[in-house]
Point group: C2
Chain length 165, copies 2
């Protein structure tokens, strides 16, 4: 294992030497292709992200499919409850963006209906259900084999009142 660690450290040193300064890297993350390049759920450039690929649908909701492996394990053979929370928090945010009215998360409630399996296709959905002044309500779920494993309800606060349509 020492030889493997040495090889990985050499790669890390090489990347460190050639990477831009931290403040430049933070700017880069928010320019160009934007948040979806680096975020910890859907970002293809973030090693932590599974990544989940979310698609906006015609009915205003977003949906993606993902199978999670060992790094996301909580109970034996099942997804860590906090990882389900991470996926759903992000998906609700993307659903708000897709619906055209985004906000900061104020409250998020997760209900765990049954264990979420590892290594199986999971469907992750999100949908904005109500906008009342600056309050945005959004729901989502993780399903496996057609059954809801985890459901989520979020309250988001918009930075500005929505423009009347």
């Amino acid at each position: 294992m020492k030889e493997v660690a040495d090889r990985l450290n050499a790669v890390a040193d090489h990347l460190d030497e050639h990477a831009p300064a931290m403040d430049q890297r933070m700017v880069d993350m928010w320019s160009g292709e934007g948040i979806t390049r680096h975020d910890p759920v859907t970002g293809p450039e973030n090693a932590i992200a599974p990544p989940l690929h979310l698609t906006g649908k015609d009915d205003g909701s977003v949906e993606g499919e993902v199978a999670l492996g060992l790094p996301y394990q909580g109970p034996p053979g099942h997804v860590h409850g906090g990882i389900s929370a991470l996926l759903l928090d992000h998906t609700l945010g993307v659903a708000n963006h897709w619906a055209g009215q985004s906000g900061m998360t104020a409250e998020l409630t997760l209900r765990y209906h049954r264990p979420t399996p590892l290594f199986e296709p999971l469907t992750v959905t999100g949908e904005q259900v109500a906008v009342d002044g600056r309050k945005i309500r959004t729901t989502g779920a993780i399903t496996a084999r057609g059954e809801v494993c985890v459901s989520a309800e979020g309250l988001f606060i918009a930075k500005h009142l929505p423009r009347p349509r």
Copy 2:
């Protein structure tokens, strides 16, 4: 970047060749030193984990300190809300274990009071507050500079009724 990718792929191939079969690896994760070796929050053997080091305190609560870097970013310069949820879900579970009565997460509510800064020491706490039959209630928080950024309330269901003391 291609040369870097080739070097990393060579390491991955080497590890794959020498790793035990998946079912054996899953068993290993749950034997010996147990869950804290691999879980996605505190596990030193999980590249996704920051890792957060939690310590059980004499008052029955658990506490840890961690600073999070770029992979955990949500809003610019701040921790992703779902990462805060991941940390708190896990910390509440550890708090239950420390208090001597664990259960499966049934419901988790997160309240976001202010943005959680990246690159700064965060204090993560958890405490079991009530056990009523099989229902366990546990709370926790992430604080920065002495102010609560995110608070959590969890409802857990014990597998068995607690033994009367």
